[in-house]
Structure formats: structure tokens, C-alpha cells
């Protein structure tokens, strides 16, 4: 009994000691240790105005090893690369989402921190990491030091990365449909980087990395559909055999459905908005892309079947009528760019029954100046041969078109109203605009 009494006293004493609380503020000044506020430079002001104030996004470009994998060697970015890179991120990623998802979409959903790294991150297996996202909060962009704002493939690479990583973040907020993982469930593999892209496509994956797991697959679908643009994506998928094509179309459908139901975003509108933005930043300049051994070496037009400028159509129809009068049906014309600044103009026509096709060729010397203005001068004498001989026959009836081509300077550019995402692809439409009157032009398909 006594023992219990003493013990209770002892307990009381302990409680009394423990409860003897001191009132005091916690006043350790940690700023002294972590001098995290270095003097601002122009880059900081720009980031504040363009990321912190409108979106509450921190862009960390000063090195902080603890944001990254501590076991790997990487370098900070060059200061002069920060603004160009972040301008591009804003234009190709934030702005398109704002446009299709509403002004507040990015304020709510965007990750709150970017970390910029100058070099790539090298992984043990020979691959390099270009970007990572974690916890819906942070996106790390690597290889900033190699970034160039006018390099189209570089910009596409960055867009690819942003849409890929941001898809993870969206998926972490609202999961994608479970049936997505079932479409190609047998072919996911940890060694995704070894089999070829062809093999991945033949199994119903858009890229090799898609094969790593369904989460990456979904993100790869999103970013590739956006960065390829719809025409290229369609062409790529349609070129595949039935089985992979069906699988990719099913995946595409689920992606579009996910964006609509989860985020009320029209995916195809987002896709074309991003294509426009990429084209705005780093356009494919047609005058540099046309010629022998270039992106495009032929231009083909069927003026009777395709939209034309009224002025040229009238001339074409005049020629057509003259040809009709002598029993020929005029079908199309084309330019084929050859070496030594020679371009062959070819008229394709048939006999009146339409059973035999003839070609009439003429060689022109062409020039393209820095402004993209081109001029065609008839070569004299012409090459000999059947097709050149044919031209001699129809020449009197083609005068209206010939004199239009020979008598004007033209500015080379894309056809009016062309979808930006087709630029640079086979079959894109280009035009020769009359310098003195741009409402009059030739237009056709480039290949």
C-alpha cells in the first residue's frame, strides 16, 4: 500500500516536471543557413511575370541536387537557355490547354514546379532521360542546354515530353479507362528499348516506349497523336496491317473519350491547336523544302477537280476548250524539279475517248530567291523525245496557261487555308502566288 503511494507521488512529480512548459517562439532563422534568395536577374523577373504570377508555377533553374537523382551526374542549365525554353513550353503546352480547356484549366491542373537540367540524365542501361514527372506536382526537363527555338524537331521533342508527362499528371488525378490496358496486354515488356519501332507498331503500339506498361502507353498515345498531328498519325496507322491498326484505333478512341469525359476537352481541337503553335514557332519553310533531293520534288495539279484561283482557272478552262476543239481532254499538269535548276512542266491529256494517255513535256530553267520568289524561263533548245514532241503538238492550244507560267514571277508558299499539321507531309498543298496579284495563283499537291 505504502509502495503504491510513493509510486503515485513519483508519477506526479514526473508529470509535474514534464508539464512545466516554457512559452517561447521558435526563432531559429533558417534563412541564414539556406540563402535561397539570391539577387534576382532578368531571368527571374521574366519567370515571375510569366509563370509564378499567372499560374503559380515555380521554375527552378538554379541547381538543386536534391530535386534530382543524387546518384547521377548532371549539370545546371545555361542561363540564356531558360527563357527560350520556357517560352516554348508556354506556347506549345500551356496556351493550347487554356484554349481548349478554359482559362483556368492550367491554373488548377498544371504541376506547380518545373526543374530545369542542362544535360541529359544517363541511365545505366544506355538510355537517357529527357523528362520526368512525379506526384502531379513536379516536371523535370533535361537537356535544356541543347534547346533551340527554331529547331522544329527539337520543339516537337519538347512538346512530346510535356504532353507525355502532363498526361501522367492528369491520369494521377483521374485514372484512364481500365479497358485501355487490355488492348495489347500480352505485349508489354520491361526491355522495351531493344525491339524495333517496326515491331512495336506491328503489335499495336505507337512507339517502343509504349511497350513498357499501360501507363506509359497511354501517355505515349497522347503525346504522339498531338505531336504527329492527325494527318500523319492517320497515315501511320492506316499503313499498318489490320490487327495493329484496329488496336491503335481502339486506343485512340479511348484517349479521345478520356479527354472528353474526364476533362471536357475536345482532343482533336487540342491536337490542331498544338500543331498551329508548333508551326508558328518553327515553320516548315516551303521555299527551302522544294527542289531535287529535297523534301518535295514534284508539284501536281488537277485544276478542274481542285479548288483554284479564279484567274488561273479561267486560263486553264480556255486551254481546255482549245484542246477539246482538237479532240484532246486536258487532265492535269505537274512540275518535276531536276538537277541544274531545271524543272519539267508536264501536261497530261487523253484522246477524246479517254482511252489513251499522253504527256507533253517542256523544260524550264528556274530560280528561287531569298524571298521565295521564283521565275520560269523556257529552255532553248528543248530536249528531244516523244513527250517533248507532244508538247510541240499541243503548244498552240495551251498558250493561255503557258504564258501565265512564263510571264509572271511567283512567290512559293503553302496553299491558302492549309491545315498546319499537313505541312511537311507528303501530299501537302503548296501554291505559286503571282507576285503582282496574290489572289491569282497555281496550287497543287507536293510530293
Amino acid at each position: 500500500m505504502k509502495k503504491i503511494f510513493y509510486r503515485s507521488i513519483l508519477m506526479l512529480a514526473i508529470v509535474a516536471m514534464a508539464s512545466c512548459k516554457k512559452e517561447g517562439t521558435l526563432n531559429a532563422n533558417l534563412d541564414a543557413i539556406d540563402r535561397n534568395n539570391p539577387a534576382n536577374i532578368a531571368v527571374d523577373t521574366w519567370l515571375n511575370d510569366n509563370y509564378v504570377v499567372p499560374y503559380n508555377i515555380e521554375v527552378k533553374y538554379r541547381w538543386d541536387a536534391f530535386e534530382l537523382d543524387l546518384s547521377k551526374d548532371m549539370t545546371p542549365p545555361k542561363e540564356e537557355m531558360v527563357i527560350p525554353a520556357m517560352e516554348t513550353v508556354r506556347d506549345i503546352w500551356i496556351k493550347p490547354y487554356e484554349k481548349v480547356g478554359g482559362a483556368n484549366f492550367m491554373k488548377v491542373n498544371s504541376p506547380k514546379q518545373f526543374v530545369l537540367v542542362g544535360s541529359p540524365q544517363f541511365n545505366g542501361d544506355g538510355t537517357i532521360t529527357l523528362g520526368t514527372a512525379d506526384g502531379g506536382r513536379k516536371i523535370v526537363l533535361y537537356v535544356i542546354n541543347n534547346f533551340s527555338k527554331t529547331n522544329r524537331s527539337g520543339i516537337k521533342g519538347m512538346a512530346n515530353l510535356m504532353y507525355h508527362e502532363f498526361t501522367h499528371i492528369l491520369n494521377q488525378k483521374l485514372a484512364f479507362q481500365t479497358q485501355f490496358a487490355l488492348i495489347t496486354k500480352a505485349d508489354y515488356t520491361a526491355n522495351w528499348n531493344i525491339p524495333s519501332l517496326e515491331e512495336a507498331r506491328s503489335l499495336g503500339f505507337i512507339t517502343q516506349y509504349s511497350r513498357s506498361n499501360p501507363i506509359e502507353d497511354f501517355a505515349e498515345m497522347v503525346c504522339n497523336m498531338i505531336v504527329m498531328g492527325r494527318p500523319l498519325f492517320d497515315a501511320t496507322v492506316d499503313a499498318l496491317p489490320d490487327d495493329p491498326r484496329t488496336k491503335l484505333r481502339k486506343k485512340e478512341q479511348l484517349v479521345v473519350e478520356y479527354f472528353k469525359t474526364a476533362w471536357n476537352i475536345d482532343f482533336y481541337e487540342l491536337q490542331s491547336t498544338v500543331q498551329d503553335a508548333i508551326d508558328q514557332l518553327a515553320p516548315v519553310i516551303l521555299k527551302n523544302s522544294i527542289g531535287p533531293n529535297n523534301l518535295y520534288s514534284t508539284f501536281t495539279a488537277k485544276p478542274s477537280e481542285e479548288p483554284q484561283s479564279a484567274d488561273f482557272l479561267a486560263k486553264w478552262n480556255t486551254a481546255k476548250a482549245s484542246m477539246d476543239a482538237v479532240g484532246f481532254k486536258l487532265k492535269e499538269y505537274s512540275f518535276t524539279y531536276l538537277a541544274n535548276n531545271i524543272v519539267t512542266l508536264r501536261y497530261t491529256f487523253t484522246n477524246s475517248a479517254g482511252t489513251t494517255t499522253y504527256y507533253g513535256d517542256a523544260d524550264y530553267k528556274y530560280t528561287i530567291d531569298n524571298a521565295g520568289v521564283t521565275k520560269f524561263t523556257l529552255v532553248n533548245p528543248q530536249t528531244s523525245g516523244t513527250t517533248y514532241g507532244n508538247m510541240g503538238v499541243i503548244k498552240p492550244f495551251m498558250t493561255a496557261v503557258d504564258s501565265y507560267i512564263q510571264g509572271n514571277d511567283f512567290k512559293i508558299d503553302w496553299a491558302p487555308g492549309i491545315d498546319n499539321s499537313t505541312k511537311g507531309l507528303p501530299g501537302a498543298r503548296g501554291a505559286f502566288y503571282k507576285v503582282t496579284d496574290p489572289s491569282s495563283y497555281l496550287t497543287g499537291a507536293l510530293n
Binding site: 516536471m17 541564414a32 543557413i33 538554379r62 541547381w63 541536387a65 547521377k72 549539370t75 545546371p76 540524365q121
Partner: protein, 437 residues
Amino acid sequence: MKKYLIYSFITIALFASCKKGVDPAAGERPEERTATALKTYDDALTGAPYGWKAFLYPSGGSGFSFYMTFNTSNRVSMYADINSTSTQTSSESSYRLKAVLAPSLLFDTYNYMHILADPAPEVNGGTAGWGLYSDFEFTFDKLSGDSILLHGNMLKSQLILVKATSAEADAYKAKQLNILVNSIVDYTAANKNLYLQLGDDIKVQTTLNITSKVLSLNWVKDNTVSQSTSAFAFTLTGVVLKQPVVYEGKKITELTWDAAAKNLYTTVGGEKVVIQASPTPILPLHLLIGVSYNNIIVPNATNYAGWSVDFVTRRATAALATQKGPYGLRLDRMQFIFNVLESSLTVTVDIYQGNNKFLADFPYAYIKTGDGVYKFNAIPPTGNAGLIVNEMAPLTTQRIGADHFILDYFFDANTGQTLGQFKSVEHPDFAFTGSLN
């Protein structure tokens, strides 16, 4: 009685425990001490009126020098002896002082220093993923007088900062570093065989490897080769070594460029020693093979500088025999790979069947006399080599495995290249050469 004792003890304990103002850790708070330390370093860095000379020795070897000026708004400007831009153009970036485990100096945006640490090999070579194993975040080790010692946080590279003088600051701005580096690079390119004589008549081969930034001394005493090496960095006057290189107790820490005489000299024990240039290599080849050079590669050719007529004929015979043989093989280059520890030589012959390359290894064990005469004893080859033993016999069985050989340098006057040459003792008309690697 006992009760009273206990009660009074409790009472005392209660009062005592409520006393305020007892400091559990006497002295300043950790954050105060850290702040003081950081301020000391900060004041030192920004307080040097003419900036700092810095010597960075990456943990991957080699050495680099910098000239840096720190200002009070977190900006650092630097020159460096890395490339022709960095020696001539000052570049500005951010730096920061921060307590990361210990007070640290962080170079936190890209500058010349980061070129060394850049993991992408296309930037400055090195290992993919690591570059030159260098750092750009450093912990302060010691601040003493006019110098600061630091070590890298990640890879433990060594960084030494030394206060620069007004004259040195002016010289860096006048691009003197570039002029000096070019002088030494040109000098070492023109004079491949440099040596020092340090108090005796032994010629100590002195090699400045500009690419790897390593200085090495090699010398022969009692038929053994000894070596002393150190990383070096360029200074305004010459090169400075990471640690002294030592020959017989004599230490060298620095080499100085004499612009007038166009040579390098050092000071050993108060005495000026000029580095001499020799037209011929300093050390006999048989001592360096397997040590400085691992192999001699005899190229795929029908004739070559230093090949005797007999060798040319025998090689052609062997080439024709392999071509006509059952496998239709084309004889390509031959590598003579020495392993000094095992006293073995492997002759690896590249043979091509169409476009497919195969390797045929002919192993030999050798015995070498003190003055460098080799006797190679063939070990029966297996695998690919076993299939062409007879075809290769004019070269292997009849000569390399049969004769005694001496190894020597062969200077090719046309290309200015020094090759390694095998010469048969028994058949003076049998000799051939290959590049030293």
C-alpha cells in the same frame, strides 16, 4: 524519516525542473554558427579585390585552372584553361553559398566549370553519364590566409582557391592564359621527347600529356622502369602540379615557361633545371612495352615504313595462302599484345571472310634478356588461329617463333611518327614495324 527525505527530494525536483533559462547546449545556436561560417566565407570570396585563381582537380584525374571573381549579388565571372574560348572570354553565371550538410559553395548555373562535369560525351569527352568525374558543388574545408581549400560534394574533386594579384588579374583579362597554353601545346607537340637530368646522368623522361592533363616522369634504373605522375593545370607562368612528382627524393611542383628561350624549366632545391629536348626517345622500347605501350599494331598493308623486303615477301605469301585456303580468308592487321606480368605475347590477327571479321590468336610465352633480346616460344594455337597455322607459317613458325628479336623505335621521316620495330637477330633481313599504342 525516509518519508521526509523522499518528500523533500520530490519538492526540490519539482522546483528545480521548473527553472527557466537553462541552456541545453551552451554557446551559439547551430544556425548562428553556420551563418557566421557562411558569412566568413562569403566575405572572403567577395572581399578579394583582384579575384581568385582556382585549381580544380576532378576525381577522374587531370587538372584545370580558373580565374574567378565573385560579386555580392551572387554572380561569378570566370576564365578557364579548358578550351580556346574559355582562356580568352570571361563568362558569368550564378553562385551561391549554402549549408548543405556543411557550408558549401555552389556554382548553380552553367559555366566553364560545368563543362568538365557534363555527362554528355559530345560536350567534352569523358565517360558517358559522368564526363570527367568533376564537381560544381563544393564544401569548404579550410580558409587560411590567402587560400581556400574545398572538396566536391558529389565526387570529392579537389578545389583550391588562391587570391590573385592585381598583375595576375590584368594578365587574365589580356588573354595571357591563352597565349601561354598555346606556347606549351606547340612546344610539346614539336618536342615529343623531353627529359630532365636531376643531379645524376640518368635521363628522366618528362611527358606532358595535354589531353589528359597529366605530367609523368619515367626513368630506368637497374633495368626497371619507375614512374611518378601527377595531374597538372596551366597557370599564367607554366603548369602547376596537383601533387609533387618525385625523382630520388627531388620534388617538382611546378614547371615554368621561358618565353625568350622557348623552353620549360623547374626549380629543384633552389636550382634551376631546364627541360631538355631529345630527337630520339629517351627510354628503350623493350622497357616501355607492356608498361607505357600495350601493343604494336602492324597495319593491313603490302608495304610500310620499316618493313624489310623479306617481311613484305613473307607477309604476301601468308596473305595469299590464307586467301587460297579452305576458308578464303583475307589477312588484315596484326596486333602484337604484350603482357609483362605473364611474360606473354599474343599476336591477334584480323581475318575477314567476306565482310565478317574474325580474330585469330597466336599465343607466345617469352624470355627477355636484360638488354632486351626476346625469344618468343609458341604455344600451340587453338580456335581460329589453329585453322591457319600452316598458312601463317612463313611469318609465325619460321620467324617469330624461331628467331630472337630485339624491339626498337623506328622513326618514319615521312609522317613524323615513331613506330615500334621488331628485328630478327638471326635474320637481319627480317624486320617489321607497327604503331605503338
